[in-house]
Symmetry: C2
Subunit: 118 residues, 2 copies
Amino acid sequence: MATQAINLAEKLAGFTEHWQPRTVAEYNGHDIMVVKAQGEFTWHKHDETDDLFLVLRGELTIELRDRSVTLHPGELFIVPRGVEHRPVAREEVHVLLIEPTGTPNTGNAATAQPRRVV
Amino acid sequence: MATQAINLAEKLAGFTEHWQPRTVAEYNGHDIMVVKAQGEFTWHKHDETDDLFLVLRGELTIELRDRSVTLHPGELFIVPRGVEHRPVAREEVHVLLIEPTGTPNTGNAATAQPRRVV
């Protein structure tokens, strides 16, 4: 187990790449991750898991097929399993994500980022 | 599914009671909750689930039997299942919690708070 507090801003300060989540802790078979993002991600869905986004800094829009939801710091949104979505950030945004360990971030193992633990 | 962003500060502004978590969203069978706390909670453990604490405002100390961990805003800690702990806050603290839906907050159904959804 971790022996001290996990400071999310410190974890985010340790890398610069976009759309490459870092796992900072594990919880009930899920990865607690932080990610920096800017621009448009790919449209995707996860058939086996809900997708949780909590914005820590900046602004993130989650496009859905019929509407979009914009998140500011301290705001979260959960995309239910099976629902197509596309995260978009005009400027860099810092986000907390939770996904079951091993979930491909694109919804597709062939195009997913590898799991990175910090 | 929720149709808009969930603003954690707004949810917290909606109640004043301490140690009474409010469920603000559901994620993979878990409740995403916010709680206001001050003072000392009871020593307890959860044999079936890890316990996630993310401080949003103020300062929270999680006492363990052999040491303690103090969390500030933007810091999280996960108490692994089966580990005894006691949350303590000298002044009011606002915290995001995640637990499987139905988990008694004291680790004991007889003394737990009822599930409150806002």
